[in-house]
Symmetry: C2
Subunit: 334 residues, 2 copies
Amino acid sequence: MDHPHNREERQAAASEFDLIRRHFQHPERSARRDVVAGVGDDAALLEPPPGMELAATVDTLLAGVHYPESTAPEDVGYKALAVNLSDLAAMGAAPAWATLALTLPAADEAWLHGFSTGLFSLAGEYGVALVGGDTTRGPMTAVTLQLLGLVPKGEALRRGGANAGDRIHVTGTLGDAALALRLLQEGAPVPAPLRRRLDRPEPRVAQGAALRGVASACIDISDGLLADLGHLVEASGVGATVELERIPLSESYRTHAARLDDPHAPALTGGDDYELCFTVPPERAAELERRFARQGWPCHCIGVVEERPGVRCRFADGREYHPAGGGYDHFSRC
Amino acid sequence: MDHPHNREERQAAASEFDLIRRHFQHPERSARRDVVAGVGDDAALLEPPPGMELAATVDTLLAGVHYPESTAPEDVGYKALAVNLSDLAAMGAAPAWATLALTLPAADEAWLHGFSTGLFSLAGEYGVALVGGDTTRGPMTAVTLQLLGLVPKGEALRRGGANAGDRIHVTGTLGDAALALRLLQEGAPVPAPLRRRLDRPEPRVAQGAALRGVASACIDISDGLLADLGHLVEASGVGATVELERIPLSESYRTHAARLDDPHAPALTGGDDYELCFTVPPERAAELERRFARQGWPCHCIGVVEERPGVRCRFADGREYHPAGGGYDHFSRC
């Protein structure tokens, strides 16, 4: 551990932040039998099982940058873990252990209670143990969560395995979170189903695990479909064409996006979806769709992998779609 | 990955922060054969060897809080890793993989170059691979580094194993960094040997590994000797008496601390030492001292573990020492 340099600051921090730390001493964090030592020593001790690779990911959420200032603390705690769970889902890994670095302007007990409630509820749902952390006082709220998961050796889903001819699929519906944010920024009322997609994204962990051995490549959609599909095809040395009319959209999205200049933009370039985008060899696509249907997991084929680099997006009549507002630059680099 | 919500911010961030990320694409980060996939997928993939436990630690450094604003970027990069290496040293673990979450107000290329140079020089020295990260734009500089290490199963050094009668040892010398900071805060000139201890603490990784199977308990000194020894004895359900005259002090410290109201305070309650404090059963103390002497590792016995809870510190004449400025409260809680 490091420590603040100013003595008064250290002492104030020591008492206030001891209170904070108590919010993270939940029984859930030591619920896993593979946690030899959790919070309370110089480092946590963890016991990875034989035959498994570790998957490691880290994400920072800054108040006002990665979530609206109006977000409930429960939702901030939930989302800090959810976005990392989504990264592990995209690798087909099972989540296991988390560490949390929390920077706060002050020890706000109500905020802390909400935050830890949201975090631990999701951690419990996915069997994640919080095994370590560092709490510091700074001028803003910053949440950095690092998540470790386990995946059978050699079976992780990667970005680089797509081949021309593979079918491109996405889970769930796209654009709901980005549309919610847009309405929020415009001061318009935000329908509950959309706001829920922004504040409480459901990581597709089970879907990711089910894709091991079937999908040729996978990525989670955090920067928007076109940007993230761009990353996938670039890593695979291929390209893609997406059929605009096949993009899965929620009823709420269709209703509220209709009035936008570009009603497609939130779904294609908005980001914050935390759905999986993956490719499947054509001969296995039907089997995959049946498997997802049996589980009740929405999943749609939206296009095809091609030799030609880059991502193209077209209407049913063949016209190419270009998002308004320069979003195309954002993903054309990929 | 998560993403900023404002489109303009996202696009500015995308180009500037792509530059930043390039500073972290050094060959060193993939130098380890146990890194199956590093930066560039949804998560890193790592291969822990059989028979080993993972040791995981995380620390945040905030500019102006955990290091002076005047600190050279090379030293910030160095120190972000060093403080985490020190935590692993205290567990007797060998460092392996790191992830970095970096929040910056702007993409300052010169700062980034210095920071990454300092970070990678130390990473190379200790065989640490940087396997993932997240770069965000925020109102201040915040560096959160998470470090994973490996330790043979069941052999990690813990805080809770000290027994009454054990000898208490510390590596190196204490108080140099805290004295440097104090001089700096007073606007006084800071002698180079002291400043170096503040900016470039040397993690005692080899010493920690050598203590496996010998030390009964171990902790790294980050909050000050009395506070951290307090944590150790509390975790062990014992207490301790420290002999003030036995605390190892550097020549530079003796010279420049002499004029302070309490010349002992930086060494006992200052913090930022990143030395190890450990306990050894009396029958093994001589062997341990010989082993350290052979390696040229400074190490001193400073006191003894006792049944009575709490940490006492006394002069050679038997008087008890109480640090000035309320520092005693800080550690008496432990």
